[in-house]
């Protein structure tokens, strides 16, 4: 089977749902658990890998991503065993990208070499902030210095490293952010994820915010200033954004995440993991049970951790194609857009083009520089008419 089924490639996402502590802003499927029977979890991952592989057949794997939660809390042996099983089931591209998300504490830094030996070749580290006061406010378990040290270790061990920062934090000004980002760029290698803090309703921050107890969040004007600072400084440092919140030197983009944004196929394994699998029967959206215990039991007793699948209609696929693809600087292929029935969007597209929000060049449709900060509004106009 060719890897062009569909365009965008094929990757594997593995979700590890545990963390040392729950951060107050985080609405990922992450939980704090006392003792985790890693051997039992490994068996479940292996069983799921076998199940999905039997379904997809031997498709060429471009990337693997251990996400979380905090996958750096996994025993390196667990990671190694999972990767062994994956190798058994799918052929891997020569330049396969194998990423693991890590929290920057000393405990985890001590395991980096073992992760590398297991086959991980890219590390994505959640640094979040470069000063201790803000790290505490974000409920993080590490200091800035610890994070810097962990990152230095990671740089030595892995070919490719990246880290995440969260900006537009409480009390942060555009000037503060400019200084912090400049410092971050001195550390950065060739990839950075810079997220504006999102207040998610089902979190501690969400509840505090609703109760009016999360003061000094930057307003929209301040947030846009910070966004502009981000673009300006990263552009100057040669780390242009290739996606809304992701910056990289050319060639250093996260191949795994590009599969998502280019609407490729990916298997999603682990509690709450989502997948997209295209077959002759169409394109399916898969989703696993969210609760770790329930997922584990379902895998063990029913032979699958999935909830019932949804088959994506052509309209669904068109929506996903645009809402994911327009996040990328490269935009989407007009050709593929047409094949997904994009002709019915000709009117809003040309309106949005005329107004300067979208542009077409060399067979691609992309959001303009002015459009990027209001992407959701553009999508609403495209997809809710």
């Amino acid at each position: 089977m060719g890897e062009n089924l569909p365009e965008g490639g094929f990757g594997l996402y593995l979700h590890w749902p545990f963390c040392q502590a729950k951060c107050p802003y985080c609405d990922f499927n992450s939980h704090v658990a006392a003792n985790i029977d890693q051997a039992r979890w490994l068996r479940a991952y292996e069983a799921e890998i076998d199940r999905i592989a039997a379904e997809t057949g031997p498709r060429l794997l471009r990337s693997i991503f251990f996400g979380g939660g905090t996958p750096s809390l996994m025993a390196p042996e667990t990671v190694a065993a999972i990767l062994d099983r994956v190798r058994l089931r799918w052929p891997m591209a020569n330049d396969i990208e194998i990423t693991l998300e890590a929290n920057p504490t000393s405990v985890e830094a001590g395991k980096f070499r073992a992760f590398q030996a297991a086959g991980v070749n890219r590390l994505s580290m959640g640094v979040q902030a470069l000063n201790d006061m803000d790290l505490r406010a974000l409920g993080r378990m590490h200091s800035a210095e610890e994070a810097v040290q962990a990152f230095d270790i990671a740089r030595e061990i892995f070919d490719r490293v990246s880290f995440d920062l969260i900006y537009a934090r409480q009390g942060q000004s555009a000037a503060d952010w400019r200084r912090e980002l400049q410092q971050a760029l001195e550390m950065a290698v060739d990839h950075l994820s810079l997220y504006q803090l999102t207040i998610e309703p089902e979190t501690v921050f969400g509840r505090r915010h609703a109760a009016g107890k999360l003061p000094n969040l930057p307003d929209e004007d301040a947030a846009i200033d910070m966004w502009e600072v981000t673009q300006e400084i990263c552009d100057a440092a040669g780390l242009r954004s290739y996606e809304v919140s992701n910056h990289a030197r050319q060639g250093a983009e996260s191949q795994h995440n590009l599969i998502y944004w280019r609407c490729g196929d990916y298997a999603g394994i682990g509690p709450g993991a989502h997948g997209r699998l295209t077959s002759s029967a169409g394109r399916a959206a898969t989703e696993a049970l969210r609760a770790p215990g329930a997922w584990l039991e379902a895998v063990e007793t029913q032979g699958s951790g999935e909830v019932p699948r949804e088959t994506l209609s052509r309209d669904d696929q068109l929506s996903e194609f645009l809402l994911m693809g327009l996040r990328l600087r490269e935009g989407v292929s007009l050709d593929r857009l047409t094949r997904l029935g994009g002709a019915r969007l000709n009117r809003p597209i040309s309106e949005l083009e005329a107004e300067g929000w979208l542009s077409q060049t060399e067979g691609r449709l992309a959001v303009t520089v002015t459009g990027r900060p209001v992407l959701e509004a553009i999508l609403r106009r495209l997809l809710t008419d």
Partner: protein, 599 residues
């Protein structure tokens, strides 16, 4: 058939909450008219909304058999009348069907605005009046003070006023005795040709149109053919009954008696309240003097929130109108709101009651546009136009002048709030006509434009007087004033559903209020949106809704595709609730809230 001397017909007049419905319940209960197990509070208020709001909307009647102290059994017919000003027309016509009234005054409150309005209707109808002081079980009751007040303010003898507690039942036997001894029996000639008054009519889903009548002369029997003198329509009597208050069939009704009949009448609209009913053959020669039909004084647009529900709304409105002849409607189209109806009401409470019923009984979400009164537009060419909808305002160059309806408002208020009330009335372009004192309460009479009252007058009055003021009004006529149509422009496009008539001097402040409210209610767009209020071409208030600057999700990975897609699908469905206006989308709540009559 009951002899005239053994019949008493009466109504109860009271300010809202003074205990009219409770007293009616006690009378019914004490005479065993309704079995104890069927007794429920506010027996005569049969609509859900009446029970919930504790108000009586439709007139209703009950026949009570009372064995008096003289050993004789009397038939007492009570017609319960609405207390609220909006339904004053119902009060006046029901009054004409009876000979006496119980005037119920809450002994802890004293005379209030609706006490006055209603008692004057009773006096106009030549009623004998028995004052009743209610709620004397309460420690705050001051029967002597209230008696004096009745004499001072209303000018009737209150020395024999009956102290009661409708709640505990204290004094109820005295009330029954007084009805027999103090109220006059009806007059009438059994041998004369049939002459009956059409008191009310309503639609019953089982029986069709039910007509409440009071027989003046002659006898009406089941199976006979009768004629409505005004409409000329002829019907056979299928059912003849008295209300106890459920229907009990009866063979005939003679002079002085009150009852209902049905007779394959299709719509309530086919009946005219106040019409005279007689036999098809050998009918009476002279009809009773008719009532003037009630006319709507407040209009507003009702639009379905979901444009697909227009047909449902039409059905619902038609059904509702079957039972409410005072409510008018005609189709209306609005560029902003699509298809809907322009509806006329007797007042704001009537408007709310109808809207509530449409939403509740027919399950339709509605957008209500700003209530407007009826303006008379005198055109240069000498013609006169009635303006029910500000959107239809003719070109000003063709208009000679505009007249607006005025009311006479009576407000009773404790001394300490008087200053605030006067200021409120003054701010609303009121002209003071009278200011007197009744004990520690002041009574002010103001001449006010109705349009200043339909907005949020009740609410303001309630809030400045902490709920201690009572208010009543009636229309007095039309007067010329400096009235203009204020338009609202969103992104330079006029939004017809938001335009309103205002007095020139009040235009700036209303315009400012409106644009400020809209600025909060309209979500930001990708461009900045000017929101203006204008008179003719002249902008009198302006706000600018700034453009959306940032709206982008920070994180969107594999698992978020589904969530985002579903969110967009939901927003797509939600768009039905948005109205496209030029390039601007206005959520329907914006119309409701910008125009909110804070009543």
């Amino acid at each position: 058939m009951t002899d005239l001397s053994h019949i008493r017909n009466f109504s109860i007049v009271a300010h809202i909450d003074h205990g009219k419905s409770t007293l009616a319940d006690r009378l019914i209960q004490l005479t065993g008219t309704v079995a104890e197990r069927d007794m429920k509070a506010q027996l005569l208020d049969s609509m859900d909304i009446e029970r919930e709001r504790g108000i009586t909307i439709k007139a209703n009647s009950v026949r009570i058999e009372y064995p008096a102290k003289d050993g004789q059994t009397y038939i007492l017919n009570l017609i319960d009348t609405p207390g609220h000003v909006d339904f004053g027309y119902e009060v006046s016509r029901s009054m004409r069907a009876v000979e006496g009234s119980l005037l119920v005054v809450d002994a802890t409150q004293g005379v209030e605005a609706q006490t006055l309005a209603n008692v004057y209707q009773a006096i106009d109808a030549d009623h004998e009046i028995v004052p009743v002081l209610n709620k004397i079980d309460l420690p705050a009751a001051e029967p002597e003070r209230v008696k004096a007040q009745i004499e001072d303010v209303i000018g009737i003898d209150a020395s024999h006023a009956i102290p009661i507690s409708a709640k505990t039942g204290l004094g109820i036997p005295d009330v029954l005795e007084a009805i027999v001894t103090q109220l006059p029996p009806p007059k009438g000639d059994r041998d004369a040709p049939l002459k009956a008054m059409l008191v009310d009519s309503w639609y019953d889903s089982y029986l069709g149109v039910v007509v409440l009548i009071r027989v003046m002369d002659g006898v009406i029997r089941k199976g006979e053919r009768i004629k409505m003198m005004k409409t000329g329509a002829v019907y056979g009597i299928d059912k003849l009954a008295v209300l106890k208050p459920q229907m009990v069939d009866i063979a005939e009704l003679g002079p002085g008696e009150i009852g209902i009949f049905t007779g394959s009448i299709k719509q309530v609209r086919d009946t005219r309240v106040g019409d005279t009913i007689t036999h098809e053959k050998r009918g009476c020669a002279v009809a009773l003097p008719g009532f003037k039909p009630s006319i709507p004084v407040v209009f507003c647009g009702l639009f379905p929130v979901d444009a697909n529900e227009f047909e449902d709304l039409r059905d619902a409105i038609e059904k509702l109108a079957l039972n409410d002849a005072s409510f008018t409607y005609e189709m209306e189209t609005s560029a902003a709101l699509g298809f809907g109806f322009r509806c006329g009401f007797l007042g704001l409470l009537h408007l709310e009651v109808v809207r509530d019923r449409l939403e509740r009984e027919y399950d339709i979400d509605l957008i209500t546009t700003a209530p407007s009164v009826v303006y008379q537009i005198y055109m240069r060419d000498g013609t006169l136009r009635e303006l029910h909808n500000p959107a239809d305002m003719p070109d000003l160059t063709l208009v000679d002048h505009i007249e607006e309806p005025r009311i006479k408002a009576t407000i009773l208020v404790p001394d300490e709030y008087l200053g605030d009330v006067l200021k409120l009335c003054q701010d609303r372009r009121g002209i003071q006509e009278d200011l007197t004192y009744a004990g520690s309460r002041a009574m002010v009479v103001y001449d006010l434009p109705l349009n200043e009252v339909v907005f949020d007058f009740y609410d303001r009055l309630k809030s400045v007087t902490k709920g201690y003021a009572s208010f009543d009004y009636h229309l007095t006529g039309y007067r010329q004033d400096n009235l203009v149509k204020m338009q609202v422009l969103v992104n330079d496009e006029p939004v017809d559903a938001l335009s309103m008539m205002v007095h020139r001097d009040r235009a700036e402040s209303r315009g400012r209020q409106m644009v400020e409210k809209l600025k909060e209610l309209i979500p930001r767009h990708m461009f900045k949106i000017p929101i203006q209020a204008a008179i003719g071409g002249k902008v009198i208030a302006r706000e600018t809704l700034s453009a959306l600057r940032k709206d982008v999700t920070a994180k969107c990975y594999g698992g978020d595709a589904t969530r985002k897609r579903k969110l967009l699908d939901k927003q797509k469905a939600g768009k039905k609730k948005m109205r496209q206006f030029g390039k601007v989308e206005i959520p329907q709540e914006a119309f409701i809230n910008a125009l909110k009559m804070d009543s």
